[in-house]
Symmetry: C2
Subunit: 414 residues, 2 copies
């Protein structure tokens, strides 16, 4: 066996023990991990500083460099996050259905771990701890392949987690950190379908495409969010302005940020100039169709490429539509199935919009920014899936499990 | 666009309408399909006869030929099956969670269709109707690629279904029958990830491998069932004999048939000779390890290859184990995660077995043959998934859906 095969086999072996580990043992290990991170703060921060210095020497800058940073505040949040995961209910063993069928069998459907989860991610070293905590609480072993730039931070964080596992008498292979960045070796891992049950790529488009192309293991993708908001004829326009502007400004680089506003023609004359003014004040570039630019001369003329685009920046597209039909058709054509919202006072419009727009999260009179595991009450999330299969939308603990049948009989045969 | 691309685009378009089609309209179309099958019995039977004649000319025989046959009785069952699917509750729109989170948002998790499902299957033409009925009831369009041998039957069945759709004013593209068997064209379809949401291969190992290797679309596999039964030290041995022998004889070629019996050494001396006798009487070839053959001279000596093998025939492997540890280790090594059973009177053994054996269905004191959608109370099934991701075990209507969030607010922003 190659070294990678040995690592994967050890992860599988560890997953067998985790699958039926009592909740209190899992929580104890997570709390030990939190304490370990607390008492070894200096070690973590020093590793992060080494990563940052190397990245700066290599010319990394802007958002990438910021994502790489793990400072005092970020570390405190990370530790708090681990404690929160420990406090969440254990999904494993939850009985989601329990009935006696005509043959007399008692049929229970029970949540169970997926097994071994591989996560491939970039930059943010905190993911090493977040992902481990969630996978572990859901009874899974994880194989983590972080970004090269975060190598030192990831190594220290993984070490602390493995020390916590060992201290609790649990298999260290519950967390395996892959240090290679060799694409051939990653491809090898992506072909180990008998040892790895699920692959979650989280990062830029090229990473996701690479994983998708080469994985023989099921993947759940966290792809782009091209989020729309429809300002309906009956919308409260002040509410709509708030939702549209903050939807862009509160975190422009996130996947649930608003990218495109669709304005019902009946309110365009009142809404578009106000939107342009608020955008200008907030430093947001507005790119509109002909009607938008005629109503708001400060808006730039949008080009075809601006529809369906995830700007990841302070840019917002806007288009006037004749009504719900045209808005829904636009979203079906250009949307990414991530998050879409309608601002309306009309019950029938809201119902039609939520029924026909089949995105992972559809909101009525609220910001697209709420499509997030914490905000929707999942407690924590490992990312937001844009695959409809297995998990769609924020992936919390439940989405890191499967369900199986446990059946009790008294000698039934067929 | 190629012809296949046009077909897939039409399926996607149809799926948009099916996604929010009211339950009564779906049921009406299914009942019209049942009536259509009833009134066009002659057409179906004639097409099946042509397929059978061609298959016999081509030298097809045995179980393959039997699976191809769609006679009077099979057709009646098929029609009854469609009516049963119409009578099942509609999974779409089911609210699986409903809560108000601290921000005041009302967050509902709602079942929604997957979209477009492609199914690739062999021989049995009835799958054309079964698969369509289930996909359609769950709000999905389907693309069906049946076996070449069943071409005539499949064409007539699909025509009747499309006529029912058209008669109800629904898009015929809700069912697309692919008639090519060209592997390049199948590969083309398997790469249409933006039009097709899920691929379900159902058939022999080579079909499943082909799909798994070439699909860029998520797949759920219905792979082999290497089912085990452990006869524990405290087992009711008469019950164990019934479960073991009928587990093999009632349908030896199905995936939930029993393949291997593990016998606790404490009861081996009493159980193995009785098992051998019952097997001999039922025409089942017993292949045992050294202990089994010494206790039952009629048993053949098993070779390494007999462990973990899906015989699909009247052959049963048997091994004596020291206890639960060895039995579980055997199942983890040789099992396929499909179905495993324990026969025991000991509560602790049952609990340990059901916790540590993580198969899609684990049974206590019942036959492995119960891992089946009808038997477990799902109403109907499209197959039994051996993938842990998305669906594990029998796939019924629920497993042909996803879940998404529908959120109502009153102007909340972040």
């Amino acid at each position: 066996m190659t070294e990678l095969e040995l690592l994967a086999a050890a992860a599988r072996e560890a997953s067998r023990r985790l699958a039926f580990l009592p909740t209190d043992e899992k929580n104890a290990a997570l709390l030990d991990l939190a304490s370990g991170l607390e008492s070894r703060r200096g070690e973590v921060l020093a590793a992060s500083a080494r990563d940052m210095a190397a990245a700066e020497r290599a010319g990394l800058g802007g958002p990438k460099l910021r994502r790489l940073e793990l400072g005092e505040k970020g570390l405190t949040q990370l530790i708090e996050g681990v404690r929160q995961v420990a406090a969440l209910p254990d999904p494993v063993g939850e009985v989601t259905r329990d009935r006696v069928v005509p043959s007399g069998l008692r049929v229970r459907k029970v949540r169970a771990p997926l097994g071994v989860i591989m996560m491939i991610y970039e930059a943010r070293p905190g993911v090493t701890i977040d992902a481990f905590a969630l996978c572990f609480k859901a009874g899974n072993a994880c194989i983590l392949k972080g970004g090269r730039e975060a190598a030192e931070s990831n190594a220290v964080l993984a070490r602390i987690a493995r020390d916590a596992l060992q201290g609790c008498g649990l298999p260290e292979a519950a967390l395996t950190l892959i240090t290679t960045s060799d694409r051939d070796e990653i491809r090898q891992l992506l072909s180990m379908e008998s040892q790895i049950d699920l692959v979650i790529p989280r990062g830029g488009e090229s990473l996701i495409r690479f994983v998708h192309e080469h994985s023989r293991i099921p993947t759940v993708q966290h792809f782009q969010g091209v989020c729309h908001a429809l300002v309906d004829a009956s919308a409260d326009l002040e509410m709509a302005l708030d939702i549209c502007v903050t939807g862009k400004t509160s975190a422009p680089a996130t996947c649930n940020a608003l990218e495109c506003v669709l304005v019902h023609e009946e309110v365009a004359r009142r809404f578009v100039p106000a939107l342009a003014e608020r955008c200008a004040a907030a430093g947001v570039e507005l790119r509109g169709d002909g009607l938008v630019t005629s109503l708001a001369p400060s808006a730039k003329q949008a080009v075809e490429d601006d529809w369906g685009r995830e700007f990841l920046d302070l840019i917002l597209a806007a288009r006037v539509v004749k009504g719900l039909d045209e808005a829904i058709a636009h979203i079906q054509r250009y949307g990414s199935g991530h998050t879409d919202a309608i601002i309306t006072k009309d019950r029938a419009s809201a119902e039609r919009f939520t029924a026909e727009v089949q995105s992972s999260c559809v909101l009525v009179n609220a910001s697209t920014r709420f499509n997030d595991g914490f905000q929707l009450g999942l407690g924590a999330e490992i990312g937001i899936s844009t695959s409809r299969v297995h998990a769609f939308g924020p992936m919390g603990l439940e989405e890191l499990t499967t369900q199986r049948y446990v059946v009790e009989g008294s000698g039934q045969v067929r």
